[in-house]
């Protein structure tokens, strides 16, 4: 069976809600039925076959080709299966994702992996603000799974994050790890201002010395036993994080945010 492929025919003026096109909702549907589904775009409803050329039949393996940055909610609450996006993705990529795999070859917009629960999200390009964060007003961001971003991420990555891993090969914007409850964010590049702002628990693992707020206290240099295990868990990834030369266990530990609970930590490679 070949992958179920949606090839975008033309870019719409309004944003498109792609949430119906996920593996578990398309399961057991015939191609004609899938084509007859409707997608919300602005105030209009568009038939799927009006917007996309549809090929293939494997609903558990979906490819979205020619994807552009106004296709929102791709992989919303994905519950198993695999979605590959060729091109860019809009906002709310992998929103509330439960399990499965979601890969984007280009960039992703705001709120990628927002309130993600489990699974694997890979973004080959850059990600916008609020990666793995909570919706405005909600208190729980990402609760599990792994996000890999090969490019840079915007501001407030991991805001209210509760569990899981966010791996960033590039740079992270301001407020990275803000209001984190737990989990791990690893940044190979540079980080912006207000790193870990109001974080309660959790780990920010950095390759470069950040500009830290006064509410983070230096706990000294340490060799930490959990780091080799953490790096070993990255080995299956197609990433610089899986490279053995990237691994380290010697870090400078900063505890914070002391203006909050203060049980979080910033670990900087030595």
């Amino acid at each position: 069976m070949s992958a179920l492929t949606f090839t975008l025919k033309h870019r719409t003026d309004q944003r498109v809600d792609m949430s119906p096109l996920v593996c578990h909702l398309l399961k057991d549907l015939a191609l004609a039925d899938i084509g007859a589904l409707t997608l919300q775009s602005g105030k209009r409803k568009l038939r799927v076959d009006e917007l996309f050329a549809i090929n293939g039949s494997d609903t558990q393996n979906i490819i979205i080709k020619n994807s552009v940055d106004n296709l929102d909610f791709i992989g919303k609450e994905l519950d198993g299966g695999c979605i590959s996006v060729v091109g860019d993705a809009g906002a709310y990529l992998g929103f509330g994702m439960k399990t499965g795999e979601l890969k984007v070859s280009g960039n992703a917009g705001l709120y990628a992996a927002c309130e993600m629960k489990k699974g694997y999200l890979e973004i080959a390009g850059n990600a916008g603000d609020f990666l793995g964060a909570a919706l405005p007003g909600n208190k729980m961001g990402m609760k599990g799974g792994t996000i890999l971003v090969k490019g840079n991420v915007g501001q407030r990555a991991g805001d209210h994050m509760r569990r899981g891993n966010i791996l960033i090969e590039g740079n992270a914007g301001d407020y990275c790890g803000s209001r984190m409850t737990a989990g791990t964010i690893a940044v190979m590049g540079q980080t912006g201002r207000y790193l870990g702002y109001a974080m309660r628990r959790g780990t920010l693992l950095l390759w470069n010395q950040p500009q830290l707020s006064a509410s983070f206290n230096d706990c000294g240099a340490h060799t930490l036993a959990f780091l080799p295990i953490l790096f070993a868990s990255f080995k299956p990834l197609n990433s610089r994080f899986s490279d053995a030369t990237s691994a380290f266990n010697r870090v400078q530990r900063y505890a914070g945010d002391m203006s909050e609970m203060g049980r979080g930590e910033v670990l900087v490679k030595l």
Partner: protein
């Protein structure tokens, strides 16, 4: 059956169901992993009075351990799951948490989950940190030498305890030399431990006693000094008997360990004073698992 001049008795070892778990201890080097493992499995020779039976299963190469440091795998056996969990936690807390540079990991992924570092974390007094990595939860507990890393749980599985065989020799040194040779080979078999000191027990017991408060007492039928005053199992030339007790995860594991052990003893043969191999057979009173010596060596 006679192998290299050693008579293999037509009897069987009687074993009983137990619960078992395995943990992996790593440390800065093999020396400290061994120290920690030995401490954790100290005073764990017999469930009769120790609460559990435990020993180091084998030494692990850095490539075999979760954190890439030298380590040991230890196994603990007890009569019930509750007792096993209690023993594991107490011993981990007093012997591994306290041991310099040591870290503690699960050695069994399946089975019923029992606490390993799950409750030890409270030693961290609120400064402990949890990390969930690849579906496993670890606790980082701040201690004076750095951090004690412990996996939250390990697996408890059904197992068998009390597999055994007796080495009957013409002298005490010869019996001990044969047992040492057997233990060396048996330690290569996975999923088994020989919990007595050095793997060998010189005070094999029988079920019951003339004293009502005791559940076990000396196995007088195999005591060489009682040859003339009890219903002995020993012929006149036997001067010393030693026993090797084996606990294992499955019947096959124990049978394999018994086979290589008995073979190592028989390789020394009658010319080294080894006369017979027998087993602790309690007439079906001790347990449902029977390891027939001649079948094992066939």
């Amino acid at each position: 059956m006679i192998i290299n001049g050693v008579t293999i008795d037509a009897t069987f070892a009687e074993a009983f169901p137990m619960k078992a778990t395995r943990a992996i201890i790593t440390a800065q080097n093999e020396k400290w992993a061994l120290i920690s493992g030995q401490a954790m499995t100290g005073f764990a020779t017999s469930v009769i009075a120790c609460g559990c039976e435990g020993s180091i299963e084998r030494i692990l190469e850095p490539s075999e351990t979760p954190d890439g440091r030298p380590g040991v795998s230890i196994m603990i056996f007890a009569m019930g799951g509750k007792g096993l969990a209690k023993q594991l936690e107490t011993r981990a807390g007093q012997c591994v948490l306290t041991s310099p540079t040591a870290a503690l990991f699960a050695g069994i992924d399946g089975g019923i989950r029992i606490p390993l570092g799950k409750n030890l974390r409270y030693f961290g007094d609120g400064f402990q940190v949890s990390k969930q990595i690849s579906g496993k939860r670890y606790w980082r507990i701040p201690v004076m030498d750095g951090e004690f890393l412990a996996e939250a749980t390990t697996g408890q599985v059904d197992a068998i305890g009390g597999g055994n065989f007796l080495v009957l020799a013409e002298s005490q040194p010869q019996a001990l030399a044969a047992c040492e040779a057997a233990i060396e080979e048996m330690r290569k078999i996975p999923n088994v431990i020989m919990p007595f000191p050095g793997g060998v027990v010189r005070s094999g017991s029988k079920v019951g006693s003339k004293y009502k408060t005791l559940g076990a007492s000396t196995n007088d039928a195999f005591c060489p000094t009682l040859k003339g005053m009890t219903k002995t199992e020993l012929s006149p030339e036997i001067e010393s008997v030693m026993e090797i007790v084996i606990d294992g995860l499955t019947k096959e594991d124990i049978a394999m360990a018994m086979r290589v052990g008995i073979q190592a003893v028989c390789d020394l043969g009658a010319q080294n004073g080894i006369k017979r191999i027998s087993a602790g057979n309690y007439g079906g009173k001790l347990g449902p698992f029977h390891f027939h010596l001649q079948e094992i060596m066939a």
